[in-house]
Symmetry: C3
């Protein structure tokens, strides 16, 4: 029995998610299906990439992760299949799998048209192409038989946080339901001395271990669930209060140690 996760921008009001699941269950009836999210903003490949990278490590070895945020559906864009030591990933070649690319991963362009489902049009490759490929993998189909290895997948721009003598520079990579701002700055980089996090004209020098330790109306840095610095309030949407969004720069700075004259 295999596990398949599904991440899309299909929403939950249409029949699209269930159509993908039906095709998979018809061919791989023992599959355990898990929704990651279908609320990715329409066409927002970067959000999908973040969510997939965050969730994949929680799943059992061998899980198949299918991610369909695919504004280029029907165009010549390729379908990618990626294998790592831990999991297999399927997604359009639009950068969605950027966080997965790394040493030891195998990236293939799917060319097995014989696996595709006959389809009236070219608007729903989630159902007609990705679902049968996923089912193939879940039924122990040979990964290497999906298509040729490629070396030039589309990649999203990757921003790396900077660690300088008197400051850390990064950005907001996600704003969650609660208004917590997840940054890409490793919490392990935080200095032992007092420091201040700035986002636009807002800032805080408070550091806490958990949300409830933040005084009401205040803000704080804490170590988030991905091991990076998170900016949060208590029981309040800080991103809204600070008018912040994904991509905003975050700078955490401190005074240099005084040097004897």
């Amino acid at each position: 029995m295999g596990v398949l996760t599904l991440l899309t921008d299909f929403g939950t009001a249409d029949y699209y998610v269930a159509a993908v699941k039906g095709v998979i269950l018809a061919a791989a009836p023992q599959t355990t299906l898990v929704d990651v999210s279908h609320e990715v903003p329409a066409g927002d490949v970067a959000t999908a990439a973040f969510l997939l990278a965050a969730v994949a490590p929680c799943f059992p070895r061998g899980t198949v992760h299918l991610a369909v945020v695919d504004p280029g559906v029907g165009s010549p864009r390729r379908l990618l299949a990626v294998a790592t030591a831990e999991a297999r990933f399927l997604a359009p070649d639009n950068g969605l799998l950027t966080p997965v690319f790394g040493a030891g991963c195998e990236i293939r362009a799917v060319t097995r048209e014989d696996l595709f489902r006959p389809a009236p049009g070219a608007t729903f490759h989630g159902r007609d192409r990705f679902a049968p490929i996923a089912a193939w993998l879940l039924c122990d189909g040979d990964f290497a038989a999906l298509g040729p290895v490629i070396a030039d997948p589309v990649r999203l721009p990757v921003f790396s946080p900077e660690r300088l003598a008197d400051r850390l520079v990064g950005r907001v990579v996600h704003v969650d339901r609660y208004g917590n701002m997840v940054t890409d700055i490793p919490a392990a980089w935080l200095p032992d001395r007092p420091c201040r996090a700035r986002l636009g004209s807002h800032s805080t020098s408070r550091r806490v271990s958990h949300y409830e330790a933040i005084p009401a109306g205040d803000a704080a840095m804490l170590t988030g669930s991905l091991g990076t610095v998170e900016l949060s309030a208590r029981g309040e949407d800080l991103a809204r209060r600070w008018n912040a969004q994904r991509g905003d720069a975050v700078v955490i700075s401190w005074s240099p140690p005084s040097v004897p004259p």
Copy 2:
């Protein structure tokens, strides 16, 4: 192991969907449960009928489809069970199953009160009546034993698109999350020559195979995932731009071939 799909207007903030699933799992623990949607607008039987018809063909043979959009719950309206060559369907007798009725299908009014769950009131037949009937079918209960065959189920009005010498006349049958307008006009009816699709005061003569081929700000006809004509834009909600909604008339017309004088 059987598959059960669940389509309702219950929303996802209440406990209603899970209550139905709990009752089914208590009696049929091996069932694979798949949500179609629970975001059908409250009481919108026609939307539920569209979604069910669109998704059912994707599921494995023998699937039980349970659809509960039931503003008449508790009234004398009947509970229907329908068997086709491919699947079984359960829904209130309010037209929801109209797209399923057809040659060779068997329509029964469920009268097996002994299967119903004891209930304090008459407001939640999804949990108290439909769920145990679904579990009965999933446990290989005899379909014919559910109740008598009937010939007079409630039917929604069915509109058929028209194919005329110089035009096709149909309507919008669904607006999806992206703002694509799905029509009931078969894409195979589109003429080989240039044509123009009109909806109210808006129109387009562009025909493309996929969304990304539509210039930004423009609109186009394409073959949608159900094989019918879809009206779409690229990365934009065309239904909003055109102020269109389900039921709106769509006319696709062309100039007749010039006749030699």
Copy 3:
């Protein structure tokens, strides 16, 4: 194969729900996962308590119910495990399990840190602590080994409806998607004679068995799916029309029988 239900305030746009499921499936792959709701308003422990109490009786004996609405995550608040004759429950010690506490239930504070998942921070105990404990129970781990029995769990205030000579006094305990107001007044308490339900300046004396029996634009009392009085309209959101919300007082009164002079 066990059943796990999941009730949170995580929303469905983030990866949080799937992360919990991944951790559970990695350790207990045969688990059947059922979402109760993830749309609990952020931090709203009382709503979660209501939903959990309403849905748990529908599930098979032995089900593990995991409920994570946990504004105190990372603080010294305890993690509770509760066993009843029917089911096991896991939740933070913040009152969420109040409706479950009762005669014969066993309440333990989880102290098995060896079961916890290594974690970078203290913000996601759903993934890092509750999920592995749930998996432990689903894999037939010993409930009594989770930690010591405690007698002082945090309890939400419990309001009991009152049954007086000429009236019933209760409150709205839930407003559902349709705008039905679920009260805590047992429907069995309703008198045989005419009565009137009042909520603020609004009232109705109509009693019906089902929604469709309510005239359009009117309101009525009926027996809801939990056996309590529900105040509803037909095809309309009565809570919005009456401007009502959870906690509002509801009084149902009648004239005393005339006494012979």
